[in-house]
Symmetry: C2
Subunit: 196 residues, 2 copies
C-alpha cells in the first residue's frame, strides 16, 4: 500500500519514514516524488485544521490516502505564541535561524525557566475516513542554541527530564519522545490495526 | 467503558444504541441522561465540522470520550440543498413534517426522478484522538410521504434498489443500509480494533 505524506520538509520526511518502516508493505511517498503538487494554503486557526487542510488538498489532487501533520509551539510566557504560526514566526520564507532568534529575543525580557510545549497533530485521510491524533512534549526554551541535529526549534528546546536539547539528540532518541513521534506512533497503531 | 453520544434526537439515539450493542462492556450515554448540557451552536460549513463541534463542546464539558454525528441531504435538482442545513431546512424549530413539505414543494417544479443522497459523518473524540467516518446512501426523493417508521426525511426517501421508503422499513433493515449505519459501523469497527 502507498500513502502520500503531505510534506516537503526534509526533516519531517526522514522522521516519518523512519517511524513507518515497521509496517511491512507500506510505502510513504513524499510530495517531492510527485508531479504538479498544488499550493497548500494553511489558513486554519488550529494545528488540527492545518493538518487536515494539507491532507484534503493532496487527497483531492491525487485521489490516494494521505498522511499529514502540523506542529505548534506553545510558550507560556508569550501567551501561547508562536502557537500555530511556529513555522512562520519570523515572517514568510523565514529560516529556522530567524525563528529561533525571534523567539530568544522575545523571551529575553522574561526570567527563565521559559515553560513551553510542542504539539503535533498527525492526520490520515482517505475521504471516507479522517483520523487525527494529537501528540505533546513538555519542556522549556533555553537562552541559546545547542546542538546541530534535527530542525526547527530543536536547538532551543529542552525536553522535560533531559539535559540535552532535541538538537543534541540522535534521531532515534528524539523519535522516542517527541510530540511528532507520539502523534505518528499512535496514528500508526490505529492504521495498522484498523485501516491498512 | 462509557461513551457519551452527543445527541438529543430520540430517533438517532435508538439507532446508535442498537448499532453499538454488540460491543460488550460499552455503555452509550445520551445527552438526556446528563445534567447541565451546554448549548451547541452548529455553525460549521460542512457536516464534518458540525459533527466535530458537537463532540468537542461535549468533551470540554464532561471530559469523557464522545461520539457524535451530523447528517446532510444532497438533492441534485436543488443544487445540493438542503445539504448541511437538512435539520433546519424549513427554519429554526421546524418539525420533520415542515421540512418534508418544503422539500416536496421545492421539487414540485422538477420532473422526477429526484436524485438525492444522504451523507452522515460519525465522529469519536477524546481530545488526543479524533476519528471521523463518512457514510453515504444514494436514492431519490419521491413525491409523497410513505411509511411511519424512522424520522426526518425517511418517509420521502427511497433508497437505490428498494421499492420502500426508509419509513416503510423496520429499524433493523434501515440499520443495514443507511448512511448513518455505514458511518457508525465503520467507526465502531475502528474503535473496537484500536481504541476501546
Amino acid at each position: 500500500m502507498e500513502i502520500i505524506f503531505a510534506s516537503g520538509n526534509k526533516g519531517k520526511i526522514t522522521e516519518v519514514k523512519n517511524l513507518f518502516t515497521s509496517i511491512e508493505g507500506l510505502k510513504i511517498i513524499p510530495l517531492c516524488d510527485l508531479a504538479d503538487v498544488p499550493e497548500i494554503i494553511e489558513d486554519g486557526q488550529t494545528i488540527e485544521e492545518n493538518a487536515f487542510i494539507k491532507a484534503r488538498v493532496i487527497f483531492e489532487k491525487y485521489g490516494r490516502p494521505v498522511i499529514s501533520d502540523d506542529t505548534g509551539l506553545i510558550v507560556d510566557q508569550l501567551g501561547g505564541e508562536p502557537g500555530v504560526h511556529a513555522a512562520r514566526y519570523a515572517g514568510e520564507n523565514c529560516t529556522y535561524d530567524d525563528n529561533n532568534r525571534k523567539l530568544l529575543s522575545e523571551l529575553s525580557q522574561f526570567k527563565g525557566p521559559h515553560r513551553a510545549k510542542f504539539l503535533c497533530c498527525a492526520v490520515y485521510y482517505d475521504h471516507t475516513r479522517h483520523i487525527s491524533v494529537l501528540g505533546e512534549m513538555a519542556g522549556e526554551i533555553i537562552g541559546e542554541k545547542r546542538g546541530i541535529s534535527g530542525f526547527g526549534y530543536d536547538p532551543v528546546f529542552l525536553p522535560e527530564g533531559y539535559d540535552r536539547t532535541l538538537a543534541e539528540m540522535k534521531l532515534e532518541e528524539k523519535n522516542r519522545i517527541s510530540h511528532r513521534a507520539k502523534a505518528f506512533n499512535e496514528l500508526k497503531r490505529i492504521l495498522k490495526l484498523a485501516v491498512i
